[in-house]
């Protein structure tokens, strides 16, 4: 079981790296055209302290933005899930907000709060990632079958008790589904801001500096580091999901 879970994806990654290496070697591409996997360890080693420092910055900003998105998305989803009027009022606003390409928002925020790099990055991560959470929670709550509510309401249960015992747990699978999407989105938000901001920090800024100095191995090393962080965060969510909403998983037959 463990073997399957770890060895199979690991083999897939190794095969992917091998194919990549072969592709670059076979075409004889120089590393200013396309870096190969064998170029990456030296790049990582050369900038190891920057990778650690910037990687940490990117990670905590993403997590902070995501945490705010979870709180805000849950609150918004609850408001929209329980009140039809507010749902009708907020939905178009929310959809419109989400439809705006976030790359256009980055310079606006960067100009609004000049110099507040940490704040801007967290804000961006939050803004880009709360939408799926709010929508899924509101749909989860508004489609709760009335009978589920009635079994507790008939006993004189308070609204809070009904929310805690029925509505919230029942919505958890949808919530975690949305959270998996939001993790990736928050990551994109963080990096957009880090790349675009002048004098930025974080992995996005490292990527930008690699671009400026045409250091392809560094740029690819950053991409790999980003992918690794993304995978890490995603599986943290999967792990939380298994703890809090494991019941929704169909037993494997």
């Amino acid at each position: 079981m463990i073997w399957r879970k770890v060895a199979v994806p690991l083999a897939a990654v190794l095969i992917f790296l091998a194919l990549w290496e072969i592709l670059v070697q076979a075409n004889g591409w120089p590393d200013y055209k396309m870096a190969s996997p064998s170029d990456l360890p030296p790049a990582f080693w050369k900038y190891r302290w920057l990778f650690l420092e910037y990687g940490w910055q990117t990670l905590w900003r993403t997590v902070a933005g995501l945490a705010i998105a979870v709180v805000f998305g849950l609150a918004l989803g609850m408001v929209m899930g329980f009140s039809r009027t507010l749902r009708d009022a907020l939905y178009p606003l929310l959809v419109g907000f989400n439809a705006v390409p976030k790359a256009t928002v980055v310079p606006i925020i960067a100009l609004l709060f000049v110099g507040q790099h940490d704040f801007n990055t967290v804000l961006m991560a939050f803004m880009i990632s709360f939408f799926p959470i709010a929508v899924s929670v509101s749909i989860g709550l508004s489609t709760l079958e009335p009978e589920y509510r009635d079994i507790l309401r008939a006993l004189g249960a308070s609204r809070l008790a009904i929310f805690r015992k029925i509505a919230l747990p029942k919505t958890l699978p949808e919530f975690f589904g949305a959270l998996k999407v939001s993790v990736t989105l928050a990551f994109i938000g963080t990096n957009l801001m880090e790349i675009v901001s002048p004098h930025g920090r974080g992995l996005g800024a490292l990527f930008d500096s690699g671009k400026t100095s045409a250091d392809y191995p560094l740029m690819f090393a950053v991409l790999i580091a980003l992918a690794a962080l993304g995978i890490l965060l995603f599986y943290v969510v999967v792990w939380l999901e298994r703890i809090f909403a494991g019941w929704a998983e169909r037993p494997a037959s």
Binding site: E145, E147, Y148, D150, I151, L152, R153, A154, L155, G156, A157, A161, K165, I166, P169, K170, L172, A245, W247, A248, R250, P251
Partner: protein, 282 residues
């Protein structure tokens, strides 16, 4: 015996986009303490509405609902409900599902006592050994048994059943009728059962009430004679056939259809005793 449930001249209409939809019209009904009342009627006539009024989930436009000498204005912990859909919570085990009402109603029981109470009921309905299973691991009939346990775990005075066996196959349904009798022998509740199965109504109830078509009023009452413990064989006696025929006739009237000539006359006289004689309500 005092009437535990009293519904007095209840009239109710739903507000719909096309204007008010009258659902109940001057409906009166009373159920004595410890008695089992089955309510049958055409679909959409307002049976579920009636259960929601008794449970205090809704207030009638006019008229009153009284439970145990108290006017019902809001839900109360002395009511238990089960629906056609067992609505078990997937994230809880069967035992935890049955315990749920005890987490809501005021009680002095400790957690261990709550679980002991739930286990006792699960055993009574034949679900011992399934306490730690998830609802998805149980068959439809077993889920409905668990749902019944949950409905009575807090020892409600009134048990409201809204077509709880409606989605089950015929054999499972008959099993559950027996379970219902077993529960009644152990637990002192007064019950209202909504059903569309006439055999079920005479097998389980002390009295069957036929509602008219929408807006519903109590059209007809049929007392079911108490002849001791019932078995499924009792459903195949001439008396049972007569009662079923009377009820079917009344449903046809409620549906606004004139019963086809000859469907009744070929069957034996309705009831053997005076107390079982059907009477049209005034």
């Amino acid at each position: 015996m005092a009437d535990l449930i009293e519904i007095r001249h209840v009239t109710h209409a739903y507000a719909t986009p096309k204007g008010p939809l009258p659902v109940l019209d001057d409906l009166s009904l009373s159920v004595p303490e410890g008695s089992f009342c089955a309510v049958v009627g055409p679909s959409g006539c307002g049976k579920s509405t009636l259960t929601r009024l008794i449970a205090g989930l809704m207030k009638p436009d006019r008229g009153e609902v009284w439970l145990h000498g108290e006017r019902v204005k809001s839900p109360r912990a002395t009511v238990g409900m089960a629906f056609q859909n067992p609505v078990l919570l997937e994230w809880r085990t069967i035992l935890q599902n049955v315990v749920l009402p005890l987490e809501i109603v005021p009680t002095k029981l400790t957690q261990a006592q709550k679980e002991a109470r739930a286990r006792e009921l699960l055993e009574l309905v034949g679900l011992e050994g399934f306490e730690d299973k998830r609802p998805s691991e149980l068959s439809g009939g077993m889920r409905q048994r668990a749902s019944l346990c949950r409905a009575i775990v807090h020892r409600p005075e009134v048990l409201i059943l809204d077509e709880p066996f409606g989605a089950l196959d015929a054999f499972t349904r008959e099993d559950l009728w027996q379970t219902m009798h077993a529960l009644r022998a152990e637990e002192p509740f007064t019950s209202v059962l909504i059903t569309h199965d006439l055999r079920e109504s005479i097998f389980l109830a002390d009295e069957v009430v036929v509602l008219s078509g929408r807006p519903a009023t109590a059209q007809f009452r049929l007392p079911v004679p108490d002849t001791g413990p019932r078995t499924l064989d009792d459903l195949y006696t001439p008396q049972a056939a007569a009662m079923l025929n009377t009820l079917r006739h009344q449903i046809e009237i409620a549906q606004g259809r004139t019963p086809a000539a000859g469907t009744r006359k070929t069957l034996p006289d309705p009831a053997p005793t005076e107390s079982a004689t059907p009477e049209i309500l005034p």
